[in-house]
Symmetry: C2
Subunit: 133 residues, 2 copies
Amino acid sequence: MLSKIEHIALAVSDLEAAIDHYTQIWGLSLEHRETVEDQGVEEAMFRLGDSYLQLLAPLSPESPVGRFIRRSGEGLHHIAYEVDDIEQALSDLKKSGVTLIDEQPRTGSRGTKIAFVHPKGNLGLLVELVQKS
Amino acid sequence: MLSKIEHIALAVSDLEAAIDHYTQIWGLSLEHRETVEDQGVEEAMFRLGDSYLQLLAPLSPESPVGRFIRRSGEGLHHIAYEVDDIEQALSDLKKSGVTLIDEQPRTGSRGTKIAFVHPKGNLGLLVELVQKS
């Protein structure tokens, strides 16, 4: 079902400061930046091998990532797995009894098809499925 | 400095149940399993593309992962980056003012050289550096 880790998402409060941190201290190069109004975030993507490191900054304190940071602080937010057929993956997961946040794919950043899987019933892990366009 | 995401580590309470979950629901194959007394964990590794998903179960409630689960529940624990030269990476990070948990590499699972970087001063992210043997 899963072909690879598409990205690891990190919640950050200050996107500019976090981009500086990953550029200057960790030596990564910023590859993509996008505001995703639907998810209430501004994101920055750094390529790391065959995957990305994704920084997610909340557009408002009441957005999901804003509430996450208030509750848990900055840090690891979710993993995104790349899949070839997101509709099939969602159907298989639903049959397995996994709780889906998105029963149908929606449009993510970079024109991808995405869907989230609830951490409840998935050993505490928030998962995003990503199908490239 | 970083060549790729070597693994994503997930804290789990019950390793057998978690292995079943990742095998049966997510279709992954268990590739390696090892008890690392030094870190107070039993771990299970699943290959996922060019990286691994690592499950970490505490050997005792007072181990670091045991305390993590009591405090935060099961879920994302740390990211491990692969580096070519771990001594050089630690030296560069120290010069950048990053707080190191391990000033010198120690032996990790699979005979790797590893060192941890403190989440404080790294935007809340616990990082493991891994150099393959």
